[in-house]
């Protein structure tokens, strides 16, 4: 009881700091757990380790629940190429670095595998918190994680069986196949049946979901897989709609509870290796953090994502996975790697996980976007324009406007900061300038000062101010998300179309039609 209390209190402090400093909570949880261990406040280490295993199984299960293939949104080829190339290059790089550090072949293989995959746990949590799960890059990342997790599990099984030769490899293949079959049966038949039968029996439903989890963990052990792999497959097995949604609702407080317990417990058993090894940790972590974003950004953009999306996806998955710990642990148990190397893997994982929330920010993505090479001749307008219409910002509605207004005979020039979007629309024959809406030169390239109408969809008031300066006489429309920005926009003599208000108007028309104008 005292262990649970201490871990919870440490977690409560972490949440408090996180709220106060507006920083992500996971690193703070690990830090507070480490503080507990500094004061040796976790006497029953065995129990803490049990909680750790329990929490890990549960959290991997929940993370797996987010990895429903349907969420990827169809672009399987992109996912495949990004996932595989990143995995191979990072894994290969990790292997090479480890060999050059003199780790030995077997150990280097483990380190390579540990470095190759990204953390479903951390990334899915961030996507959910930031409500970015269904942005295009969120979907891409979801797919990549699903693919890589499966890859790690298969390879992990192979590493166990490697000593047994061909039969071992066949056994591993068989085990994975059996798991896949179980996932298919559970996702297609068992889970929907259970939901249908016990829809209003929350207690039974909760226990049945956990029974599925237990069954998969048991199955994994039978097939000589790590139990966490079972938990992952169980999560995928109940991910499809509507079971996934119901399960998430049911399990949300358990997830919060185990998140707090797991990460503090993890911090509490963490061992910081000596300085020499710290250097190795830094090299490996740096490799992951620097190479991943570049690699992913390049591959994803080539596969047709916008440059912005590609960069954001790359930044978001620049860390090692919870499976890295399992890979390390398994290697340790089998005698493939030493305690020292396990500590290095663990620390690289912690370090890269901790850094993720800070490097995957909007600001850094925007900075990196500026470093992106320019699309060919993107800053030069084809010919001078007069009395034309300028569309600044080509998201979903900006794009539709560009197409529709051009179709109906207006002379339209558009501008956007995303090089991939710009190249694509240019290829389709539209006149598009590449540049930042806050940058005077890019704006001038659109012939702004001679424009009659300007439509700004970037939603930022600073942009409006500059645009109004450059085009004092044009009629400016601003499509704005945030109601708070409306007065400032109107001060600049800009006509505002508020997204939410537009949707509400639309809704009220439907509502009055359906229910009559006055309440019953």
């Amino acid at each position: 009881m005292i262990e649970v209390t201490l871990l919870l209190v440490a977690a409560a402090v972490a949440f408090g700091i996180s709220r106060g400093l507006r920083t992500p909570v996971v690193p703070l949880l690990i830090a507070m757990g480490y503080v507990l261990s500094l004061f040796s406040l976790t006497p029953d280490r065995a129990f803490v380790e049990q909680l750790l295993q329990l929490g890990l199984s549960f959290l991997v299960f929940v993370a797996g629940m987010e990895l429903h293939p349907g969420r990827i949104g169809g672009r399987y080829r992109t996912v495949f190429s990004v996932g595989l190339l990143q995995f191979l290059i990072l894994g290969g790089g990790g292997l090479a670095i480890s060999l050059s550090m003199g780790f030995g072949m077997m150990a280097s293989l483990h380190v390579g595998l540990a470095i190759a995959a990204s953390s479903t746990l951390v990334v899915m949590r961030l996507l959910r918190e930031r409500q970015q799960m269904f942005e295009p890059f969120g979907r891409l990342v979801t797919g990549v994680l699903l693919f890589q997790d499966i890859l790690v599990i298969v390879l992990m099984v192979a590493l166990v069986q490697i000593d047994k030769g061909l039969t071992g490899v066949l056994m591993g293949g068989f085990a994975t196949l059996a798991m896949a079959l179980a996932v298919w049966g559970c996702a297609g038949y068992l889970a929907p049946w259970l939901l249908n039968k016990y829809e209003h029996e929350e207690e039974i439903l909760l226990l049945s979901i956990l029974t599925i989890l237990s069954a998969f963990i048991g199955g994994a052990l039978l097939l000589e897989m790590p139990p966490v792999a079972g938990a992952f497959f169980a999560g995928v097995a109940i991910s499809p709609f509507p079971v996934g949604g119901v399960a998430r609702g049911l399990l949300s407080s358990l997830t919060a509870f185990f998140t707090a317990l797991f990460f503090t417990a993890f911090g509490a058993i963490l061992v910081i290796p000596p300085v020499v090894d710290l250097a190795k940790v830094l090299i490996l972590a740096g490799f992951v953090i620097v190479v991943t974003p570049l690699l992913v950004a390049a591959i994803a953009e080539r596969a047709g994502h916008t440059a912005r999306n590609s960069i954001e996806a790359g930044l978001l998955i620049a860390q090692t996975s919870e499976f890295s710990l399992i890979v390390g642990l398994q290697g340790l148990v089998l005698g493939h790697i030493s305690e020292e190397i396990f500590a290095i893997i663990a620390l690289v994982t912690v370090l890269t996980m901790v850094v993720t929330p800070w490097i995957s920010t909007d600001r850094i993505a925007r900075r990196l976007l500026r470093l992106h090479p320019a699309p060919a001749s993107a800053r030069e307008p084809k010919r001078p324009h007069k009395e034309h219409c300028v569309v600044i910002g080509i998201g979903a509605s900006g794009r539709a406007l560009l197409i529709e207004l051009s179709r109906r005979g207006m002379d339209v020039v558009a501008a956007d900061h995303d090089p991939a979007v710009v190249s694509q629309l240019k290829d389709e024959g539209y006149e598009v300038i590449w540049g930042d809406a806050g940058d005077k030169e890019s704006l001038e390239a659109t012939g702004l000062e001679h424009a009659r109408y300007i439509i700004v969809t970037t939603g930022r008031v600073e942009h409006l101010r500059l645009i109004r300066q450059l085009a004092p006489n044009a009629q400016i429309y601003a499509h704005i998300f945030d109601r708070a920005n409306v007065p400032r926009a109107e001060d600049l003599d800009v006509e505002v179309i508020l997204y939410s208000e537009a949707a509400v108007d639309d809704f009220m028309v439907w509502f009055d039609e359906r229910f009559g104008a006055t309440p019953a």
Binding site: M1, L207, S214, P227, I497, Y499, S500, T518
Partner: protein, 543 residues
């Protein structure tokens, strides 16, 4: 136990519990029985699972959470309301039960010491069972529910005295040191007073502001609340009080806060899981074999518990001016012995006051009375009517204190989930037009300045939709930007036959939502686009 084994053991316990619970559901049996049966299967029958320290801790966490939940449900004034009746009823009930069982045991040929031990083991009702039953039937808040919980808490204080008693008797069976007993009782009451005072001070001066500050983070607030709960539990243990009392008081502290309903919903699933493990481990640890040799004793004790206790409680509560129904329900609810009886017996064996036979007798009586009372509780209304028709409940006297009549549930309203800019705008607009609007969000801040009714909660949670009265709503609207939540809301609305309008924030989402049966889609970007085009058309820029 290695970590892997621990996870596997819990998995087995949960799985068997789930399977038995499904069968029990079909037979209309309460889940408590299912869990205990699952435990019997895993322990005494097959020996698959053994309960070690870690499992015990998990089970204890279950008890803590359950009592925390009770505290959350009952605010301070609701407890004060039944304070007197609980103390009087609890004290008299325990005294009478102890005497009757003591006399009976002596009559059945047990020694005086054994009879005292048996009497003590029989006099408590089971907090965990009762609270679980009340919670499942949503009766925690009812008058008889509150009286029952009050009686149980009074019993919890007596538990401390009982434990001292065993320890004292065990020290050589000399004259019972009355002075020592009284000191212990005094200490317990003092500790209770101190903890109560602490709770009061916390509520009054310390908790409100920090928790209001934290309330924007749903997860953070949940962890804070749990931390508070476990701190109180440790304090209670430090003051030699039971963990139940600590958890209950922590719950009471937070019951005063505006978001206590959401907190209850969050604690609930966690409790359900851990308490299931508690009941399973209870079953695992049962030693019943020796009880069969003492069938006569066992049956007598069972009958007395099942019938005698409810009758006694009925009379006690009735005499204090409550309605017959309230008195009857209180009695029925408390008609079993406590799992504490087992712990008590184990201690008694340890100090040489009782033997294994007595232990298994108590275990058997516990198993049967807990199971039967759970079934009887499920049929309490039918039983009341049946007895009333035969006139066995006596004449209805004018009751001084009655159940408050519940408010009529909200209906023909519009539920709006997600108080972002769009959600708020719709809420305002519909409210201005005179519709009854219920706004739902996880963030209390966002609900604060709305003109309509509000509900704090996570809309993916079925309990929240239930509380929002989805089945009776005219329309539900989701302004959320979360695909999964929108899909599950659409699904739920269609199952409930309520029209739904959903935020389709991205093209990939909209097709799926329509397929699921959404009646209307809120698509801000399309709406803004349409407005832009129509402005140009109105200006004559576009033809």
């Amino acid at each position: 136990m290695p970590a892997q084994q621990f996870v596997l053991t819990l998995g087995i316990m949960v799985s068997v519990a789930a399977l038995v619970a499904m069968t029990a559901r079909r037979l209309n049996m309460p889940s408590i029985i299912a869990y205990i049966v699952a435990g019997l299967v895993l322990g005494p029958v097959t020996g698959l699972v053994a309960v070690d320290h870690s499992i015990e801790v998990i089970a204890e966490v279950g008890i803590v959470l359950l009592l925390f939940l009770v505290g959350l449900e009952l605010s301070l004034h609701k407890v004060k309301d039944v304070g007197m009746v609980a103390i009087v009823t609890g004290a008299l009930q325990m005294a009478v039960t102890l005497m009757v069982f003591f006399g009976l045991s002596v009559g059945l040929g047990f020694s005086v010491v054994e009879s005292v031990v048996l009497g003590v083991a029989m006099m408590f009702s089971s907090t965990v069972v009762v609270v679980k039953l009340l919670d499942q039937s949503k009766n925690l808040d009812s008058l008889f529910g509150r009286i029952s919980v009050g009686v149980l808490l009074v019993q919890d204080l007596a538990v401390i005295v009982a434990l001292t008693f065993v320890a004292a008797m065990g020290r050589g069976g000399e004259e019972l040191a009355l002075a020592e007993l009284m000191t212990q009782l005094g200490m317990a009451l003092l500790g209770m007073g101190a903890l109560l005072a602490l709770a009061f001070v916390c509520v009054r001066y310390f908790l409100r502001k920090p928790f209001a500050w934290m309330s924007r983070s749903r997860e953070g607030m949940f962890i804070w609340s749990l931390a508070l709960c476990f701190i109180f539990v440790l304090l209670a243990e430090g003051l030699q009080l039971s963990v139940e009392i600590g958890a209950f008081l922590a719950g009471l502290c937070l019951a005063q806060m505006p978001y206590n309903h959401e907190l209850q919903r969050q604690v609930h699933p966690l409790t359900n899981l851990f308490i299931a493990i508690f009941f399973v481990s209870l079953g695992v640890q049962m030693e019943l074999a020796a009880a069969f040799g003492n069938a006569g004793v066992v049956i007598t004790l069972i009958l007395l518990t099942l019938i005698g206790k409810p009758v006694l409680l009925y009379l006690l509560v009735l005499k204090q001016g409550y309605a017959r129904r309230t008195a009857f329900m209180t009695g029925i609810t408390l008609g079993q012995i406590s799992e504490f009886g087992f712990i008590f017996m184990a201690l008694a064996i340890g100090t040489g006051l009782a033997d294994e036979t007595l232990m298994s007798v108590v275990a058997m009586v516990g198993l049967v009375t807990i199971s039967v009372s759970a079934v009887v509780y499920g049929k309490r209304n039918e039983l009341y009517d049946w007895l009333d028709e035969r006139g066995w409940l006596g004449k209805e006297v004018e009751a001084d204190r009655n159940e408050a009549t519940p408010e009529a549930p909200i209906s023909n309203h519009v539920i709006i989930v997600g108080m972002n800019d769009m959600g708020r705008a719709i809420a305002r607009r519909l409210n201005d037009e005179g519709h009854r609007v219920l706004a739902v969000d996880t963030d209390l801040e966002k609900l604060r300045d709305l003109p309509c009714e509000t509900l704090m909660g996570h809309a993916e949670n079925l309990a929240v939709l239930h509380e929002a009265g989805l089945e009776r709503a005219k329309l539900i609207i989701s302004a959320l930007r979360i695909e999964e939540a929108n899909k599950s809301l659409t699904y739920r609305a269609c199952r409930a036959g309520v029209p739904i309008s959903v935020h389709g924030f991205e093209r990939q989402v909209t097709a799926e939502l329509s397929e699921l049966g959404a009646d209307h889609l809120l698509i801000p970007k399309d709406a803004a686009y349409a407005i832009q085009i129509s402005r140009f058309e109105n200006q004559g820029v576009l033809k």
